[in-house]
Symmetry: C2
Subunit: 282 residues, 2 copies
């Protein structure tokens, strides 16, 4: 069973919103009304030998990676990150020193965005280091960028080059906040590949998103750039002023919930099996 | 290095409170000001072969256990639980069906306390099932029961029998809320053994807590009942009316930060190495 199928099985009777919970399960970032503010809660997990291998980089990189991933969800909503809770499971073959290096990598990113660690847990792990980071962000009530706000006639933008897999680059917190000020209502961060992530917007907004292949800023093969995750750039829709902060890459049309890529002649390009859907259980 | 030593190493430069963060790292439950309410955030982790073995009980019991543990931290503050985020890491040898059984055990406890799952993650695990649960609770601003509010002259109470290790019993949410109404200012849930948990109150409040051995409701040997965790009863101090909801077990005195147990003749009983402090890293 894949991740998506298992989540569907487990959560099918759980409401997506309820009372002060404006956005719940099914989004990477919850939105909860709290007086004049909305609180944004994002959880991310990082498991050794599933999401990373320790020989690929030093421990501070993995700490930075999970911090960047969790903050990126706050950036996509346009929020200001404030607090974080760090849960670590540590196997015998990871030392206190290595754990400290991980923690310091994580702290460095959090500090850059004035995010204070407010709690968490440390336990032993039977095998493999793992970390779960929960981040609390804030935004003025009703201002969070959401997946269901794309409208026919909107332009589609991305905030950086795709396919770099540059997972420790700074999350686009400042840009997210700027977009909200400019009236942007719809955004997502690219963590599972642009096609899959824009697919969430197309589905939630019930629109067709058409991307122009030649306008997509990318490194390496286009297919890889569109279907690999962990770019942590923002993708968003609206009618925004010209800016060198982002690229216009396509348009939103009325129609069925789908994402299409066309070449300069208008021919439809095909990218089967786009985006990650990890197999979880047998 | 033990859990306590490692946490000390990692978090020594992290502020305990800051701005709207009234209670941060160092407590089992964070308290964050949000308008007229305070938000309570508690994280708990449950790792297979560290905290439980699957052969000990069916999967729904382990789901219920982590839900009860996280809600118990909200109960100790006197709050109302509202939302939860569930992070699961699932190894190959746990099926979708078993995962669903776990999830249903967890959901049953959450539903009982009207707590909605608002998000989370599911990933693969290299070995062993693990779950991290983050719970959001709410309480009127300034009303949360805290560890540093015990005062000389207070009575010490516990809300149930110690040593039962009855970890799937309902968390004492209703009692916590009732205690707040009665003016109780200081509480903790017994998750690491009464002596260790009251030690947190004694240290934070800079008081001496003296327990009367013959008044302590317990099952099995007294030492075990005082030093084993996972009872999830509440321990609290104050001057409360008589009630059959709790037992008077001792008193708070001015003095050094410590917890003592005396017998009926006033003789000091000794309980070395009281409470859990798990060894984590080499």
């Amino acid at each position: 069973m894949t991740e998506v199928e298992l989540i569907e099985l487990l959560t099918r009777n759980i409401p997506r919103h309820k009372g002060d919970l404006k956005i719940g399960i099914g989004d990477d970032c919850s939105v909860i009304r709290a007086g004049k503010k909305d609180i944004l809660i994002s959880c991310d997990s990082l498991v050794e030998d599933i999401h990373f291998k320790r020989k690929w980089a030093s421990w501070d990189v993995w700490g930075a990676k999970i911090a960047a991933a969790a903050l990126s969800d706050i950036a996509a909503k346009g929020g200001k990150p404030c607090y974080a809770w760090v849960n670590l499971s540590i196997p015998k073959n990871v030392s206190a020193k290595q754990t400290q290096t991980f923690y310091n990598g994580l702290l460095k990113i959090l500090k850059k965005f004035k995010t204070t660690i407010a709690g968490g847990n440390i336990t032993k792990s039977p095998k493999g280091f793992s970390a779960i980071l929960t981040v609390w962000g804030e935004i003025a009530s009703g201002k969070a960028m959401l997946r269901d706000k794309a409208k026919g006639g909107d332009t589609v933008y991305v905030s950086g080059v795709l396919g770099k897999n540059d997972f420790v680059k700074s999350p686009h917190i400042k840009l997210g906040q700027w977009l909200v000020k400019k009236g942007c209502r719809c955004a997502i961060d690219v963590s599972d590949g642009l096609l899959k992530d824009l697919g969430h917007i197309a589905k939630a907004s019930k629109v067709k998103i058409v991307l122009n292949a030649e306008k997509l800023p990318h490194e390496g093969p286009l297919k890889k750039a569109l279907t690999r995750g962990e770019d942590y750039v923002l993708a968003f829709t609206g009618r925004l002023p010209y800016s060198n902060r982002y690229h216009m890459v396509g348009e939103v049309k009325k129609g069925s919930s789908c994402v299409q890529v066309v070449d300069s002649k208008g021919n439809l390009l095909s990218f089967p099996n786009s985006g990650f859907d990890h197999r979880i259980t047998g």
